[in-house]
């Protein structure tokens, strides 16, 4: 089985700062991370591979520095990493991104075997659109399963997969045929810690790097800013919260401190105390 996981390197939103003087977003020096939602997709892919055999290829489109994020996925145990990077891709919206990724997936299919499953995260934390996964599925004519919370069964012989999908008001049990694109929901699994062997392999691995020409794109007007109908009209900073961090002090060492802390929490959120009692009683 060949599984491809599409990931994105995003700025660590917890560490983005707004310039105190000019009120613009300061991108420089903000550390980048793998889009957290993508990690659930990656872990699910690795589990399937461990169970059913095959290979996991990780694909990303981004600047050359995105190779670091790819390397990290190798540390977790992915078999191969592909970086799609070209200045023609700069400024892509979801339409242009899914076009570039779908083209790259074509070359992946040709070079490393046709993917049976393509995974993406539910959405990214910097774009929040949840459109790229479905965009790829549409372009490649893959069946699509979005917001998947659990993979129930995979039947390779029949070429079928059954999943649970979270929908408004309940959980759907869905069955479909390979090839399929799955967008994985958060908190559905826990990322493994790669073994020392994986880490050593990852440190030395070559990241496969392709540009627009490599993946056979001829019409560059479908790429990057030119291929993106979405226009960002304005970026602005929300006003800072007035609430300040509070320092809690207490006598009586760790126990005293813990008590003071809990009192403070109960005082601010009275519901928590009763919930806790209820929880304790029910156990």
């Amino acid at each position: 089985m060949h599984i491809v996981v599409c990931i994105k390197q995003v700025p660590d939103s917890a560490q983005i700062r707004v310039h105190p003087v000019y009120n613009t977003i300061m991108r420089q020096g903000v550390p980048t991370i793998i889009n957290p939602y993508d990690l659930f997709a990656l872990e699910e892919a690795l589990r399937l591979r461990d169970r059913l055999g095959g290979e996991v290829t990780v694909l990303t489109m981004g600047p050359p520095t995105a190779a670091e994020s790819l390397r990290k996925t190798l540390t977790f145990g992915a078999d191969r990493a592909v970086l799609l990077t070209d200045r023609y891709f700069a400024g892509s919206d979801t339409l242009a991104t899914s076009f570039a990724l779908a083209s790259a997936l074509g070359k992946i299919a040709a070079d490393f075997g046709k993917p049976d499953i393509i995974f993406t995260g539910k959405q990214t934390i910097d774009g929040d659109t949840a459109q790229v996964g479905p965009g790829i599925a549409k372009r490649l004519a893959y069946n699509q399963l979005t917001y998947v919370s659990r993979i129930v069964e995979t039947d390779l012989d029949a070429g079928e997969i059954i999943v649970e999908r979270r929908a408004e008001g309940g959980i759907q049990l869905l069955k479909t045929k390979f090839p399929v694109l799955i967008t994985m929901l958060e908190a559905t699994n826990e990322m493994r810690r790669g073994s020392i062997e994986n880490a050593l392999l990852a440190a030395r691995a070559e990241v496969v790097t392709w540009n627009a020409t490599d993946i056979g794109i001829e019409d560059l007007t479908k790429c990057g800013l030119r291929g993106s109908p979405t226009i960002v009209k304005k970026v602005f900073a929300p006003t800072a919260r007035s609430e300040k961090a509070q320092i809690i002090q207490a006598e009586g060492g760790p126990t005293g401190l813990a008590e003071a802390l809990i009192c403070e929490i109960f005082q601010r959120a009275p519901g928590v105390e009763s919930d806790l009692y209820e929880f304790a009683a029910s156990n």
Binding site: P20, R193, S195, E197, N198, L200
Partner: protein, 435 residues
Amino acid sequence: MIDERFDAIVVGAGPSGNAAAYTLATKGLKVLQIERGEYSGSKNVQGAILYADALEKIIPDFRDDAPLERHVTEQRIWMMDDSSHTGMHYRSDDFNEEKPNRYTILRAQFDKWFSARVKQAGAIVLCETTVTELVKDIHGRVIGVRTDRSGDTIKADVVILAEGVNGLVGQRSDLRPEVAPDSVALAVKEMHFLPRETVEARFNLTGNEGVVIEAMGTITKGMTGTAFLYTNEESISVGIGCIVSDFVDSDITPYALLEAFKNHPSIKPLLAGSECKEYAAHLIPEGGYKAIPQLVGDGWIIVGDAGQFVNAVHREGSNLAMTTGRIAAETVVWLHRLRNPMTKENLSEYTRRLSETFVMKDLKKYRGIPALLHGNKGNFFGLYPKLISQAMQTWFRVDGIDKVSKEKEIFRSFRSARTLLGMMGDAFKLVRAWR
């Protein structure tokens, strides 16, 4: 199975580990460096002043692309009481030289740069991996390490422990004792953002010139410690640190101490209007020469803070870290080329080479200082700063009192606070410890 074997494993990617790994890799040895942080520098804290000389001996052209903030052109040393400071300032245009001698840096960026150089040199760098134990053979020789990742022992001819002040690997393997609370300081530090122009106007700086302030006095509330304020390109680093056992005895929290220091009338205007971006805390080994543990054994060497290599009097640490890392690596390369085994006896060449450098010479020179300051902290960090400040004030205030009376008053204030003998004793001890 990992059947490959490394010439050397370096534990930690601070300045000492990076210096060692870089030196080994450039000499063609097969090196594995293991760092528990997400990247080199992610866990590290420093003032931070970089002393160019130590790095120049490792990467001569570092100025071309290392992330440096400002080169230091002015040094201020302040003795502070609650409302004043008595200062010694040294500013020299000679420091505006082609290859400046000291720089302010931000460790997170600097270490990342250094680590990139280590990788370029050919070392394998594994981050987010913690070394949990040293693996020994039946003769007690260290033959490799185990990590918090699942899998085999990774083997190497020698393990260089560059794990910093509180490194647990060496302690757990009984290579060195746990750091004693009275020979280690706890420092807290904040980074305050200010526009470049404001930093320059406030400290009379042009271009990349920088100022450093080192301060002591009642700001540590009678505890053994010092404070600092350094100018970066677009920010100011401000911090304070005291010996851990003093914190324990005093019940004063480090952040309260830092808050008070930031609000001191001499410091407050320097930080006015700034935004605090970062808060960090870290230990500094301050036990000096007498606290240095055994440095080599069969298959292992200790470098940097893990070996207590900090000159607390001159606020030097990273340069000792880099120098010990470099010399340890050079010793390993030398043995490797001779095909000599990495035994305790052979590796002790490292200790011998170190004794010929400023590292050991300086630490030896100041070996009496930690005990002296600690034993007389009430005087050095309370009484004397107050007396000096009072004397200055008496001397400079013009209030109709004649100068002879003023001199007598100053003399009397010193005499009544401390006996002449006591004061002479302190001075004598200080001079002796200094020599």
